[in-house]
Amino acid sequence: MILMKDVHKTYANGVVALSGINVDIKQGEFVYIVGPSGAGKSTFIRLMFREVKPSNGTIRINDINVNDLKERKVPYLRRNIGVVYQDFKLLPKLSVYENVAFALEVIEESPAVIRKRVMEVLDLVGLKNKARFLPDELSGGEQQRVSIARAIVNHPKIVIADEPTGNLDPETSREIMKIFEEINDRGTTILMATHSKEIVNTFRKRVIAIEDGLIVRDEHRGDYGYES
């Protein structure tokens, strides 16, 4: 489903973020991306939905070559991938409800379906009563949960989450993990970059460790692995 071959990424300022990534992720897998700060996890994630383009190498998602994809086609790729951004990326002038609904409006869902799905998913992340608020009126953890809600609202085939529990307490984190496991059980592929040793060691999944732009470990049912 997700296939990367010898992927390199050097940013415009000369920083080498990835230097030769090879990876094969099957449909329905649940994969943690771990590694120290600045290792290249977010860059790795951003390649998949073409937020950044690789300097070298090929990326295939569902047999679509992401590099060669026409500009026009990119939105359709992105609709199949729900992304929780490390910095949330909420639209500041839209309410919580409108932010989540946006992901359904782009695929032209009917208003009735939108209302139902959005309220369902806001309920799931515990923000049903904050639907009318603006992002600025939320706490950090609440904003993060809106970003999670938006990522999963349109039942994407792949969910990519960059540090989705960084601003959540362990209790709420666990609830979010349960949601991810549930949609994973329904066949959704999940990629999650995380620094949470506790989560990785509790919910055992495949672990890919990135250091200095290279995959240094790739274990099924692995642990967080770094000494504490």
């Binding site: 990119v74 992105r78 839209l94």
Partner: protein, 291 residues
């Protein structure tokens, strides 16, 4: 539908930015409106002055009534001639005396022994034809000489043509400035939202999906921005026509009538506002769609 709704909502969501954009559109259009009104009226006045130009074709003293009649017919046949009115030498002396004011009275003694000629007062359909028509008349048998203010009339036309060119340049300059300023303002407000546009693209919105609400928003900005200018133009021009024009009373100062001129002007203003609004908004958003 969604796009129209979102376009309207954005007007509210962007609060201060909307007010600033609408303010820029408003001021610019007031300026354009005022100058358009002024220039179009000045143009009209120039037309009126040119229309006052006439050819005095002096008939030879020896011509009898029949010859004069024939001459009149011949003149009217010339291409470009609109009318040829006979004016006897007595009429000519009277109007000369009138035009000289107090000075003229000294000349009344010559009424018995009038040295002037009978004259055909000729008007051309297009004032620009005055010189060639006058030349043709001058060649007719029985015409002693023609007088249409040679020299002065050419200068008048030249001056008016300069004035018209300057006016046109000013108006065009102003309209282009308006286009630039309005679209520039809109561009800045959209620039301030480039991050949001980037997020929309990341969530899977197509360029069209993002562009449409901006289209509507630009249209609204333009139309909202033209409300005050239109109101000012309509009331201001109404006031002008009804008050000022009574006080100034030169034959050549003639203001264009309120209806339909003011309404046409209002329409132009709204159209400029709406078009630039849409154009500025769509062009600016294009830049940020390449994320």
């Amino acid at each position: 539908m969604r796009h129209i709704r979102e376009g309207f909502k954005n007007i509210g969501r962007n609060g201060w930015m909307t007010i600033a954009s609408v303010g820029a559109v408003t001021t610019t259009l007031i300026l354009v409106g005022a100058f358009l009104a002024l220039m179009l009226n000045l143009n009209e006045m120039a037309d009126n002055i040119e229309d006052d130009v006439q050819i005095d074709a002096m008939i030879e003293q020896t011509a009898d009534e029949e010859q004069i009649q024939n001459l009149g017919n011949e003149i009217e046949k010339i291409n470009g001639v609109q009318s040829a009115v006979f004016s006897s030498k007595d009429d000519q002396l009277n109007s000369l005396i009138d035009s000289m004011g107090e000075n003229g009275q000294a000349w009344q003694m010559f009424e018995q022994d009038n040295p002037l000629n009978h004259v055909f007062v000729v008007k051309t359909a297009d004032p620009q034809d005055t010189a060639p028509v006058a030349k043709q008349i001058n060649e007719l048998q029985g015409i002693q000489s023609v007088n249409y203010g040679q020299g002065v009339v050419e200068k008048l036309f030249e001056f008016n043509s300069y004035a018209r060119t300057i006016g046109l340049v000013l108006i065009l300059g102003l309209v282009f400035t308006a286009i630039f300023l309005i679209s520039n303002t809109i561009k800045i407000t959209i620039m301030a939202r480039s991050k949001e546009i980037g997020i929309m693209k990341l969530v899977g919105a197509t360029n069209g999906f993002i562009r449409w609400p901006f289209f509507i928003e630009g249209l609204l900005l333009g139309v909202l921005g033209s409300i005050i200018p239109v109101a000012i133009i309509l009331t201001g021009y109404y006031y002008l026509v009804n008050n000022i024009s009574q006080h100034i009373n030169y034959s050549f100062i003639e203001i264009l009538p309120f209806n339909p001129f003011a309404f046409q002007l209002a329409l132009i203003i709204v159209a400029i506002g709406a078009l630039i609004g849409v154009w500025g908004s769509v062009m600016s958003v294009r830049k940020f769609l390449k994320v």
